[in-house]
């Protein structure tokens, strides 16, 4: 048994933070109350610290199988644990892609063996993520995927996307859409706007996202499928989703910490760690994303943790791959820039990183209450640090937040009643 004493505990039932003790027995939270006494428990003094439900990430790339020099399931699980995550959903753009049962089984088995973080798998929408034929979605669902996506790619042909949604609509899983119209995004490197002009790089217009978001909202309406818009990045995307929700279409959405905090200005200087898809957008877009998050248009925060090795990122800007890592900076970045600056309540941030994403994949995780799985993390919010490459546990270090001072230092992560991270 583990007894967490004197912490400020986020209580999922009340959506409130209160001082309490938490008793963990095996894999379950046994009791939450003031002043629990338990002789047989390992006692952790949590005075001055906050205890949250373990974070749930709907969107990450663990690169395993196929690109294990960037990340693998073990290093990804450790990195996630250090970020306070206890559940993550991995995207299917591995090699081979997760469009078949044996790859799915390989990941689920390895995830169980590693054990540090609960890993839920997103299956492919189209075979090989090629956007040509429907993947074996029925088999993948039976095998245990929690959603389907061609993330990284986007099915361009409307008819195929329609058929994917129609085919999968009989299952209760989200269709996770990476929205990008290729003829518009083209060879774009950064947001189409002042920064693409200044840097002389091809731009990715917001339209490339918005046209596909509007298409997929219409397809969700027609098919009755649940569409989940991955990494929303533009103002009009937020408006489209807001309207769709008013129209009672089954649509949810996520936003990444980097799109909430950074703008295209970060790309000035050709730092390839600011290169990702969708690209960092304008300040107006960033503000709209934040407003969308606050009014519930955007449901959750997801990292889009996308590791790339240093020799891939240390290249000409145009040649470097898209993507940034996110597990280990997600909470401290958002706590520092949103909660500490009084733009957002701490409880709200916790909900968007825990129970809301868990609802989307319909898993019983991300809550801190008696009887729930013992998935939680313990942060000292008064403790600040500089986000440094040498501290990163992911195999890759491609973060746009390197060198940033942040508040919220993680002291412990517990997943299924076991410590998965200790400072």
């Amino acid at each position: 048994m583990i007894l967490l004493k004197n912490g400020m505990v986020y209580l999922s039932d009340k959506n409130k933070i209160e001082k309490a003790d938490v008793l963990i027995d095996k894999k379950v939270i046994k009791k939450i109350a003031p002043a629990i006494e338990e002789k047989n428990a390992e006692v952790i003094d949590c005075s001055g610290m906050h205890i949250f439900p373990g974070f749930v990430d709907l969107h990450c790339h663990l690169r395993d199988p196929g690109y294990t020099y960037k990340e693998d399931i073990a290093s990804g699980a450790e990195s996630a644990a250090k970020g306070g995550f206890t559940s993550v959903c991995c995207m299917p753009n591995t090699n081979p892609a997760i469009d078949n049962i044996s790859t799915l089984n390989y990941i689920m088995r390895k995830a169980r063996d590693v054990g540090k973080t609960k890993i839920f798998v997103i299956g492919a929408m189209s075979k090989g993520l090629e956007g040509k034929e429907i993947a074996n979605i029925a088999s993948l669902v039976k095998g245990g995927v929690v959603g389907v996506s061609d993330d990284g790619n986007c099915i361009q042909v409307a008819k195929l996307q329609l058929n994917v949604m129609r085919y999968a609509s009989i299952y209760d899983i989200p269709m996770i859409c990476h929205s990008e119209e290729y003829s518009l995004s083209g060879k774009g490197q950064v947001n189409y706007g002042p920064m693409s002009t200044k840097l002389g790089l091809s731009g990715i217009p917001t339209l490339a996202e918005e046209i596909m978001v509007s298409r997929d909202i219409m397809l969700a309406d027609v098919t009755g499928s649940h569409v989940h818009i991955a990494h929303a990045s533009t103002k009009r995307t937020v408006e489209l989703i807001r309207q769709a929700k008013k129209d009672c279409i089954k649509v949810t959405a996520e936003v990444t910490p980097h799109h909430l905090v950074l703008t295209e200005k970060a790309c000035d200087g050709f730092d390839t760690n600011t290169k990702m898809k969708p690209p960092l957008r304008s300040e107006q877009d960033r503000e709209a994303l934040f407003e969308g998050l606050m009014d519930g248009t955007i449901d959750v925060i997801a990292t889009d943790h996308a590791p790339h090795s240093d020799y891939e990122k240390e290249l000409e800007f145009m040649k470097a791959p898209f993507g940034v890592i996110g597990f280990e900076s997600a909470f401290p970045v958002l706590y520092s820039t949103l909660v500490r600056d009084d733009k957002m309540k701490l409880e709200e941030l916790v909900v968007r990183m825990t129970s809301k994403p868990a609802d989307i994949i319909k898993k019983d995780v991300g809550v801190l209450k008696e009887g729930a799985p013992a998935d939680l993390n313990i942060f000292d919010l008064k403790d600040s640090f500089t986000f440094d490459e040498s501290e990163i546990l992911s195999k890759s270090k491609n973060s746009p937040f390197l060198g940033m001072k942040m508040w919220g230092k993680i002291h412990y992560t517990i997943c299924d009643g076991k410590f998965t991270w200790k400072l």
């Binding site: 189409y192 706007g193 002042p194 693409s196 002009t197 200044k198 840097l199 002389g200 790089l201 731009g203 200087g269 050709f270 020799y311 240390e314 290249l315 000409e316 800007f317 145009m318 040649k319």
Partner: protein, 317 residues
Amino acid sequence: MKHTLNLTGRNVFDLDDYSVEEIEKIFETAKVMKEINSREYKKIPTLRGKTVATLFFEDSTRTRISFELAVKRLSADVVSFTSAGSAMKKGEGIQDTVYTLNAMGIDLYVVRHSCPGVPQLVNKYSNKPVINAGDGRHAHPTQALLDMFSIWEKTGSLKGLKIAIVGDILHSRVVRSNLIGMKKMGADVVVCGPRTLMPPKIEEVYGVQCEYDLKVAIKDADVVMGLRMQLERQNEGLFPGLGEYTSRYGLSNKMLEFAKDDVLIMHPGPMNRGVEILPEVADSEHSIIIEQVTNGVAVRMALLFLILGGKPGREVA
């Protein structure tokens, strides 16, 4: 020559790092260099013992030759690297290419590459001054300096001049550097071309005027600069064809009637005669296109001299 400003060891990634005084100093130095280039024996010993590497990852003839001549006339040694036929073809990346050259003792790099930002990378890996000789469509600061020098030489100042730049603004690194430099030197700049060849928010980014009608753009202009129109843009669906382009944006005598009587005509080359500029204009008395090329060597000599800390001895008095 007064030496109040020190440019020793500086990079030339683009002109936003340079002040008006520094640019004027480069012009003053270039004037001296131009005089040297007009002598029978066009060489001074000022950079003897220094080694410059020109790294041309992208094809270029005039810029590379201009730089090589500039290095040689200052008595420095020059080694030329072109990616064709190099170890890059064997998969060596920029990082290792630069480490390798640096190990052989290079004092300054001149870099041309099709990707924006590569001069900064070369500087990062070499820790030596880098002159950007064109990076993608991002910047071409030495071209901008020679363009501005060519105007400055004729008019004494860029302040208050109306300069119209016409053509494919979107794909032009020459324009971007010129806009930064010309605005800095106090000119009023108008960019003109088809809307599909105009980068977004250009007015906001550079504080220039944007016009789609050539007549309006060149009205009362002191300087009109044409840009190379590349046929491949037609295949990219950005404009319908050269015929319509020339009729709308080609620099002809008829069009130039709207400009000032003593308008200067410029072009960074290479020209498509009969497309963006008609021979009657390119070869007219208003044209300083050939002089731009002459000035290119002088301006590059000035930069090399100032950055590599050449001493103003007798030869550069």
